[in-house]
Symmetry: C2
Subunit: 331 residues, 2 copies
């Protein structure tokens, strides 16, 4: 991804190695400050993941792979390093996968093995971008929700990859960025990524997405996803379901961009995906400012389920598939 | 409405007279502090409306009527007082109506005339509550958007009037309160009103409304409106359209509560209602905290249009009407 720094525009990923160091953009400080965190050992790696300096399953996986390589070249106890890194987030599949992958595959050049893992993650996202860009013409106006960007996926992004690719090939596009309450990942992170690439966009309150769809000002919706069930239902950031319903009511194509590994054939349908309820203070306090009346409770579901009937297609590194083609893929 | 004060729970309206003073709840300080503003003359009245200490068309109308009564009993130049009060908000129909009404009707007891005007406003809202409460049973879970409450309508509210009436008659209800970005009137004002009345509720991010509708946890949606076109299309706070589409997709009744004066037979349909674009900083800065990346623009439509096809009925002081009955009313 491109990042505007005080020394000009630089090409960088969400995390990388410099010698034995693992360096990452500290995402907690975005968009107001571009700070970097340097992990010197697996304790630092654990902390960077746990404290959400780095977030997004693919970015976390690569950080873990780099952390394992670092531990190996520094002569750390590999079992202890693996245990420390694994324990950073309790439910992150990519984290466990990357640690195990490194234990099995790192051979006698651990850094090379980790770079290979990282490159394969970036290559998938680049391919998602190339396939998805075919859906975007000159003049296309796209709505996206949350941050399915390069920060979360090491590089390119999932939902943002087709947008980057279309812009990169010179197409004149416009992106509506849902602010994505309660945690505002759209306003903070997606807008930051688009701004760095000089892709024309505007931040909108989540409430305004329907208005622009109704007015015919949105041609295409692209979102990411955390999990795709066997029947093509998806779980994604809260609010995705509403956008899909309104897109459907206005005959606007609704696409989900994700690597094939996000498909989970062991989850039959969206009903089988548990919805995490997070701290109500994420709704009630905005950046430390209390806005709600004392005594009023809140509820804070982090995800919702969008049924396959509302999804036009899945943009993957292997091409674009309709929900029906997806189920054939599992059969 | 009931208001919890440090001296216990008190019954009060959004604005009232004490002798020659016009006293109001300063809504800018809610929900964190309950402060009152006392207007001593028509300059103060102008400022209270202009600075949004008082808001909502019916509450503004009553404030103007009281301001005119105050000017009369204090021997002010009535033409000057009328001009000063009228100029507080450029497009507020109720404001102009109330000033003209007082000039014509105040006779030799201006305060009595203003109280009569205020009581008629409150009586309409009370009647909306009685008619709307028939739609609410024991166990009904209601979703509302923005603040169509007593603060905006002097007393009872429009969308909140049926909720108050049902709770007042002992029914066990629950209210989902959309926070209502960008200005958060749901989180700040609706939750404050419900909290004062001990009506069970939870604040949710606007994005979560669809999730609860999809899960079968919402039985009824009630919203207010700023204008009802002749064909039954309505304009209301941005986000209302999305809630209506999702309610419709889930077979949840969607009602609009408003006094009959909100019907505008001179506006043929929603397409004829201009949508105000407000300051992008309402989206970008939340209570003075800058969250967006420098250089990212925002768009901020204040209202959207909900078509009559998505509206189950209108709750008015004259009863509940379907959109089709409404058009017959105009014929």
């Amino acid at each position: 991804m491109k990042v505007k720094t005080k020394d000009g525009v630089k090409e960088m990923r969400a995390v990388w190695m410099e010698g034995d160091d693992v360096v990452m953009i500290d995402q907690r400080d975005l968009p107001n400050r571009l700070n970097f965190f340097t992990a010197k050992n697996h304790i630092d790696i654990h902390r960077s993941i746990k404290d959400m300096m780095i977030r997004g399953a693919p970015s976390i996986g690569v950080t873990a792979a780099y952390g394992m390589a670092q531990a190996a070249v520094k002569g750390a106890d590999m079992e202890e390093a693996a245990e420390t890194i694994r324990s950073a987030r309790p439910t992150a599949y990519d984290l466990f996968y990357a640690v195990d992958h490194m234990l099995t595959n790192m051979g006698d050049d651990p850094i090379k093995a980790a770079e290979k893992y990282a490159d394969s993650v970036a290559a998938k996202c680049r391919a998602i971008g190339e396939h998805g860009a075919k859906l975007i013409s000159d003049g296309t106006r796209i709505l996206t929700h949350c941050n399915a960007g390069a920060l979360a996926t090491l590089d390119h992004g999932t939902a943002l990859a087709p947008i980057r690719a279309a812009h990169g090939s010179g197409r004149d596009i416009f992106v509506f960025v849902d602010e994505t309450r309660p945690r505002l990942q759209g306003m903070r992170l997606t807008a930051w990524e688009l701004n760095n690439e000089d892709i024309p966009h505007a931040i909108i309150a989540d409430n305004a997405a329907g208005h622009y769809m109704q007015r015919g000002e949105v041609d295409l919706v692209i979102v990411g996803t955390d999990r795709i069930a066997a029947n093509g239902d998806i779980a994604n950031k809260i609010g995705t379901y509403e956008k899909a319903v309104v897109a459907n009511a206005n005959d606007i194509p609704f696409y989900v961009a994700a690597p094939v590994t996000t498909f989970d054939p062991n989850t039959p349908s969206g009903e089988d995906i548990p919805i995490e309820e997070r701290d109500p203070l994420e709704v009630l306090d905005i950046h430390g400012v209390r806005i709600y009346p004392k005594g009023s409770p809140a509820r804070n579901p982090a995800f919702d389920v969008t049924p396959n009937s509302l999804i036009t297609g899945f943009i993957t590194e292997k091409g674009v598939f309709s929900p029906k083609e997806l189920s054939r893929m599992f059969d």
